[in-house]
Assembly symmetry: C2
Homo-oligomer: 221 residues x 2
């Protein structure tokens, strides 16, 4: 955590690349490696070595001449910096298809996210639990917010109620919304929104695949 | 499909915004609306109206003065263009936590993706089925590829075998890989890769949330 204090704001493109370096380090560690060079990181991620050195210096990691970076050190700093070593509690809104699937993805906890409760309006699931996580009625949000210190809300409701649910989340104190709906929600400036629309990614993939079949090759990868 | 033939390559930023317009149209249709103005689309998506008009003209949609865009027409063209009206068959690789969750997300089919089979190495799940989708051993990939016409592979294996499984997918004829692992996989130039790392998105959100709490306000949204 000492390292964290000295870190200024890291540019977003760097932030997006850091998890790739982390994954390579995790992989190399399982293979018994102790050091990794920026050349090796470059080969594994297809990012130029000078960019990698720049990115890592943003989180105060400097390689040693000839040996490169110590993998254990890289793992420790990156996991801590990326927030994967601290458990962040979250509420999930909409325990339907995608929401229910996310409740079953226990992998999230490994990366620092623990869903402590879900909210829904359907009498079919309210009062039950999914993978051990209780599902409450939306009406109970206020009281549950008071009991748990939760700042993150995962939004997996149908688009018809996405904005309405987002508004409620903000009113009761949610500070960051992980938006899985394909709708752009509107929130006050001090609320963090992370959009992850699987369907938008799907259409990008379809489009590239069609382009590939239609004519030449794919240059948008 | 007639429209499709006349459409040249659409820029990627436009491609990323089109699903947002589609979502707004779906929403407005449920509310009984027939037309939508670019001003309204702008208000709902926080994208400037002139950009919206530009984006939509890329897929040959032109608004009418005063009334705007016909919602049914927008829906039809966008859904078709984005590939959501054609069923694309896919194989899923790695029916573990996240993979198993995706198999349960029946929403994907609504957006044109049908997972017809899953592959795994674990004796605990091979031979069984998840949400009606059969899980085969990786050894059976070759024969299953011959039987089904599948071009899309969803990669949800652990990072230790991500590259190896990706290599096999390519050898047996997969043309597009939807990569959910946090690893950058290396593939030939003519293979489409769509990266969707939930954990990378998670770390972006944590980082913004921490920045928000640490000092001033969030300007990276």
């Amino acid at each position: 955590m000492d390292t964290m204090l000295k870190i200024d704001r890291v540019p977003e493109p760097t932030l997006r690349r850091l998890p790739w370096y982390l994954s390579v380090c995790r992989l190399l560690k399982t293979q018994g490696e102790v050091y990794v060079s920026s050349t090796r990181l470059s080969k594994e991620t297809s990012i130029v070595a000078s960019q990698i050195a720049k990115d890592l210096s943003c989180v105060n990691i400097v390689g040693r001449t000839r040996v490169g970076y110590e993998i254990d050190n890289l793992l420790e700093v990156l996991e801590s910096f990326l927030g994967f070593t601290t458990i962040h509690k979250a509420f999930l809104f909409g325990a339907g298809r995608l929401g229910g699937a996310l409740l079953k993805d226990t992998g999230l906890k490994q990366f620092g996210l623990e869903v402590v409760a879900a909210f829904d309006n359907s009498p079919r699931i309210v009062g039950h639990s999914v993978s051990g996580i209780p599902v409450y009625h939306m009406n109970e949000l206020e009281s549950k917010m008071r009991r748990h210190k939760v700042k993150i809300g995962i939004l997996t409701v149908p688009i018809e109620c996405a904005q309405e649910v987002a508004d409620k989340m903000v009113v009761w104190g949610i500070k960051a919304i992980w938006n899985f709906t394909p709708l752009r929600i509107r929130v006050p400036d001090d609320i963090v929104v992370q959009n992850t629309s699987l369907y938008a990614h799907l259409s990008l993939m379809f489009n590239r695949l069609d382009g590939l079949e239609g004519e030449t090759q794919n240059d948008m990868k």
